[in-house]
Symmetry: C2
Subunit: 434 residues, 2 copies
Amino acid sequence: MNKEMRALGETVKQASFRLAATENEERNRLLLAIADALEAGKAEIFRANGEDIRAAEADGIAAQLIHRLKFDEKKLHDVTEGLRALAQMEDPIHRVLCRRELAEGLEMTQVSCPIGVIGVIFESRPDALVQIAGLCLKSGNAVLLKGGIEALRTNSVLYEIISGETARTGFPAEGWIALLKSREEVAEMLEMDDLIDLIIPRGSNAFVRYIMDHTRIPVLGHSSGICHLYLDRSADPAMAARLAVDAKTQYPAACNAAETLLVHGEAEEALLCACRALREAGVRLKADPAARDRLMEAGMEAEPLSEADYGTEYGDLVMNVHLVDSEDAAIEHINRYGSHHTDCIVTEDRAAAAHFFALVDSAGVYQNCSTRFADGYRYGFGAEVGISTGKIHARGPMGLDGLCSYKYILEGSGDCVADFAGGRRQFTHIDRRG
Amino acid sequence: MNKEMRALGETVKQASFRLAATENEERNRLLLAIADALEAGKAEIFRANGEDIRAAEADGIAAQLIHRLKFDEKKLHDVTEGLRALAQMEDPIHRVLCRRELAEGLEMTQVSCPIGVIGVIFESRPDALVQIAGLCLKSGNAVLLKGGIEALRTNSVLYEIISGETARTGFPAEGWIALLKSREEVAEMLEMDDLIDLIIPRGSNAFVRYIMDHTRIPVLGHSSGICHLYLDRSADPAMAARLAVDAKTQYPAACNAAETLLVHGEAEEALLCACRALREAGVRLKADPAARDRLMEAGMEAEPLSEADYGTEYGDLVMNVHLVDSEDAAIEHINRYGSHHTDCIVTEDRAAAAHFFALVDSAGVYQNCSTRFADGYRYGFGAEVGISTGKIHARGPMGLDGLCSYKYILEGSGDCVADFAGGRRQFTHIDRRG
């Protein structure tokens, strides 16, 4: 273990305790100061970003990645607006979740509090650094950040501005944010399970899987997004076509894009409408034998598929088409091959939708809307640190709530358990309202 | 991977989906039926338990373990009362946590739901099997149980009664409970991260640590309980003595028993009162040099201590005594050497208590009461499946709430993200009350 890295972890841990004790107003003031300082320092940010982009171009990095790397006036505007919106929000910590008299004179209060130290490993977008730092600061969490190496110059300037404002404004938790610069430091971070409370990796499936396998620290994230659109017997064909195109093509690389179209055998028209619209939108179809026959009869081509395709996240304009003979068969398929992210039923039948909601084991269960809505901004969470497909702690898009834990405060006046064990005192368990 | 074990996991997983869709009334009826059947089958339970105890005695197992193994009228009464109390409680699942209009005609509902399949590995007490099964059933979770090998006969009878009632009453989620019988099956269970959502190990620290290191499945539990009692400058000496004795001696083997007494250098009388009371209660004291000097002057003996003692869970009538020169030094000691379980300040000063509550990073932060109160029953949770010292998901004593997750339901009428991205529609994000 590198001593410097360990010392950095200790510094961030100590800062996390002081940060947890700060008032909402103090955190809001710093959020606003950072927003102002980012605007004031934009020339420096853009210059560093220009260098990152030129270096990436010289290295022959793909145009899509370079696009993500860009930090311009629009991105600056988005992140500073985001910070100012966070400063307007209610304090997610220090909230009373439950207040209860345990026994006469012995009061329990459950209050929300930060998780502590969060390690976030994110991909090439430097705007993510500001978003994540803002969410962590608002929720009172200290953070160790590691961005993509190709964005290091931009990230370093952003980090300097944030930590600079922390010092300049006399914020009582200096050291609450740290930027890691090398892959070796990430490996060391994964070993500091006594100092880091949660890891949030944002990147490819293989990367998230790797992180999960190499640390004892809890990891929140999604390793893949295999979302389904199921056209039920009573699906409206025009709606089915519209939703299939949106769910597949509006942003095919997103984790909430749909990969498989499941169709009830009796929803003939919905099948044909949806597949025709998908083909017109440039989507390659892969279909099971029964679906291929139906499509061929209607003059549409589809490639054969294998079972492995049901578990593949294409991230591209390719979609599986699979006929099922009942809603339960669709549900079973989703629970077996899906990634428990977001799945939608297209139906006019409320009972069928209720059955789908109850039995599909996914973070998002939708009726008659695109799977692409699964997102913290669209849910109104302000922003998200990530989307979780696990069911422990946070599920689905994770905003400020997902960055909070809680603690139990007990206030007594010398109360001993022996008195209760001996029958001399009794528990009352009276909930206090408000 | 053993094929039978895999098939069992699949069966439980499939049952978990049906169980998640059951109504509270269905689950309550089964809880009551199980309580009745346990009473009706008590002769068989006691006979099997008698065999377990005789076998344990023949194996020379310690008297304390044999005591825990015992399942008698009192235990039967406790567990059947527990099941009936669960049947009275509100449904922890199907609760609306948030309802929000995302946009006109697009409604989001966040509802609580079960986690899915829980793997619980518990120690020798067979009554724990019934408690855990009851909590899982009430919260709609399927469960794989593995008890101590020495309680296998009793556990098998209890399991047969529970699964027998599930079949007899036509409960719609047969297979929701399974009993593992060998250690090999536990190793296989730890590998089924696609079928099991959460592992709750209850046992020794080394055992919990082992489980955490050998599975990709999330694990909730506590690996150790190093709790502190801090006597602040303004501590009432008589109260300090009473609380020290209760926290250390009321049940020294419990994880919420205190291991270290921290004392402010100016709380001379509290130090002497507490240590005198501890010694009278048969507690061996280990003290730092300054504390030893003070105690010797007052005619009390104490052994020297080493730094390692601060991180030791004695589970016995031994306690560290450490002088600190400020409340902040006490807090730093607790955050460094403690296990984030439960820590108490004894003080008459409200500001000192508030400071302690804000800065001590533990699941329970107490003022003027014994650390021994950290327990699901005492908190009024009905029962607990365990105590978590982690900050992810559940913290502290874990009852029904800790066994729940949530999902987001979206109901629309053909809503596409492209309309919002294209500026043709706007999000409204209007929270619905109630």
